[in-house]
Amino acid sequence: MDVAMEPAAKAALEKSTGPLAQQIEKLVLRKIADDSLALPALPSAIARCMELLKDASAEPKEYVVVLETDPMLAARVFRMANSAAFGGTQRSATLMAAVTRLGLKRLKTLLLQAASERLFISKNASIAALAASVWQHSVAVALIARDLCALTARSDSEEACIAGLLHDVGKPIVASVLLEAERQIVELRGSAWIGSEEWTYVLARTHRAVGVAVAQKWELPEVVRTTVRDCSEFDAANRASLANVLCFANALAKTAGICPPLTDIEDAKALVLIGRSLLGVEEQVVGSLSSTIKGRVAEVA
């Protein structure tokens, strides 16, 4: 839970809001089960590209045909291929050149980043600010998790990156459910519903299940789903799990100052310390990751 407060206050909040959180959790899970929760589908162009990515024999021109149907996505592919990181003199003049330059691995991450980002854009003013900050945080977690995997002899940096992008994807969706419930109650009773601390508590309790459901709907690998599901806590018995990497990256992004509102920084610091021991991360790696992450998020998000 992300709310910064003393243990006694936490216990009181759990007592007062726990039943409500359970009800909302049940409601959301039921909606997921009977397919009545409006889970976002992958945008069609992205879905078709993801299908192509499963086919090893797919040619770059096939991606180009699909990308041309989504000008926003095509522009994003151009932008990344022509970014400073890829050099500039030989700018990709065609979409084909841009796709070839990026390579399929980067294209996949770019597609999922584009798909995830759309979920964090809300027309509702009450959610928009929260969603925007959660998106920045998600990008930070994705980058930290990816780099950590690359630096510690792991081969699952791509899955780490995707799971990082999606680990909080349930938050804006649950926030919409909560807002709708609030609107109905306020209309019915004419009174205010719950305060921001309770709101955040319910969100924290409920959002992971939705994130897993989104990952399932998008047919992402099993490891991504389990990582999103399990990344709230460290698993001390399975030190090398990807969920532990993500839990650590999540905490580190928070201590580096890229965090959603009402984050418990003391709790995040404790998680970083525990995670360093569990995962064997050296202090100077933590320092490097922390000191560079804000700039890197600004480049990507």
């Binding site: 243990p7 400073a84 990181a85 890829f86 050099g87 500039g88 003199t89 030989q90 390579g103 691995k105 980067r106 980058l143 990816r146 780099d147 995997c149 690359a150 630096l151 510690t152 002899a153 792991r154 940096s157 791509e158 460290f234 001390a236 201590t255 580096a256 003391e266 709790d267 610091k269 404790a270 998680l271 310390l273 525990i274 360093r276 021991s277 569990l278 064997g280 050296e282 202090e283 100077q284 790696v285 320092g287 490097s288 990751l289 922390s290 000191s291 560079t292 890197r296």
Partner: protein, 386 residues
């Protein structure tokens, strides 16, 4: 000898810790609970405390609170089976340096103890720049770890195999090269070898190149870490960008013989351009294409100041500059010598030059250099400058 106290109700754990830390060269004190530890610490000072959480009589958090209340700021590492976040968060507020979760591996204990005690082989203590500080080992610590390791001139980190192949084809055969294709392999190579230059693909797919560069520099503090990138439209701006991210410079793809010639000169021919022996500075010749002459003098400009500082620090009266092998550009060489003469004057050093009649003629042509004495051989010049 650093003194470490282990506070744990398990004699087995205290024994394991004592054996490991004694092997590291530490003196180890033992206490079986928090109260016994506080009592002992009234009589003896230690450099580090390894503290369990759950213990009879007085637990770890209570002992830590008591320690801090008494004004004792000795570094503490928590070593415990307890991973309850609120317990660790409270301990952090009271000031713990680190945390080790049981069961623990000997390497983790050794690494964290060495780091906390600032012993060789552990990471250096964090700089006092807040949480975001990146810590690097001291050059001395880096040098100590380089003994007995294989030396390589160039380590290439690029996920494209042909990059290293192309480099190998363009580099002179005496320049040794080792290629790896991932961040992890690069880190492993840097633990096993000593490198002069590390070329890092600026666009590695799975990791931030800047982050990797920082980690490589920790392992290889004396190596130049250079970004490998496609040539951007504005190279000056790009070099500033990569330098801000910790790289020494940039090298552009695709490689050409000319860029590689520059690269080799920059990193591998330095020693031949300017060689110092006591107060004698010998300049090497320039063998490249005429249009690259400016780089030769720019490099000499940059190599002179540290050489002069060393000579001044050794209390010589003068510096002898041997130009007998140097390339005598009619404008650039006098300008270089004028700059050296001015710098020497500020340091209280005289400048004497060794060279033939062509050198004498060259110096005599400019106001700033015509007063510099010129000798036919180094022996007579050194006799004047001792």
């Amino acid at each position: 000898m650093p003194r470490v106290m282990t506070v744990d109700d398990s004699r087995a754990v205290r024994t394991i810790i004592a054996k490991q830390l004694t092997a590291l060269g530490c003196e180890v004190e033992e206490a079986e609970d928090g109260k016994a530890a506080l009592d002992k610490l009234q009589d003896i000072a230690v450099d580090l405390v390894l503290l369990d959480v759950t213990m009879p009589v007085m637990d770890g958090p209570a002992m830590l609170a008591g320690l801090r209340q008494s004004g004792n700021r000795t570094p503490v590492i928590m070593l415990t089976s307890e991973a309850k976040r609120s317990v660790i968060a409270e301990a952090l507020k009271l000031g713990i340096d680190d945390y080790i979760l049981k069961p623990f591996k000997p390497e983790e204990l050794a690494e964290k103890v060495k780091k906390s005690l600032n012993l060789a082989g552990g990471s250096a203590p964090a700089a006092d720049e807040g949480e975001a500080a990146v810590t690097l080992p001291s050059p001395a610590a880096g040098a100590a770890t380089t003994e007995g390791k294989q030396f390589i001139d160039v380590l290439v980190v690029d996920d494209m195999e042909n990059v290293a192949k192309r480099l190998r084809a363009l580099l002179p055969s005496h320049v040794t090269l080792h290629a790896v294709m991932s961040a992890q392999a690069a880190l492993a190579a840097c633990k096993e070898r000593v490198c002069r230059v590390i070329l890092v693909d600026y666009d590695l797919p799975d990791v931030s190149a800047a982050l990797l560069s920082t980690q490589l520099k920790v392992l290889q503090p004396h190596a130049a870490v250079v970004a490998l990138a496609l040539k951007p439209p504005n190279t000056a701006q790009f070099v500033s960008e990569v330098q801000a991210k910790g790289f020494a410079d940039a090298l552009y793809k695709p490689f050409s013989p000319e860029t590689m010639e520059d690269f080799v000169q920059q990193y591998f021919d330095k020693q031949d351009l300017l060689v110092r022996e006591d107060n004698l500075v010998r300049l090497g010749s320039f063998n490249g294409k005429p249009e690259r002459m400016e780089r030769y003098f720019t490099r000499l400009d940059s190599l002179f100041p540290p050489a002069l500082e060393t000579i001044a620090a050794a209390c010589f009266e003068g510096v002898v500059v041997d130009l007998s092998q140097a390339t005598l550009h009619p404008e650039r060489m006098p300008r270089l010598l004028a700059s050296v003469s001015s710098r020497c004057s500020n340091m209280g050093l005289r400048v004497l030059v060794v060279g033939g009649t062509d050198v004498k003629k060259l110096l005599g042509g400019y106001e700033e250099t015509k007063g510099i004495p010129c000798f036919a051989d180094t022996t007579s010049a050194k006799a004047q400058a001792a």
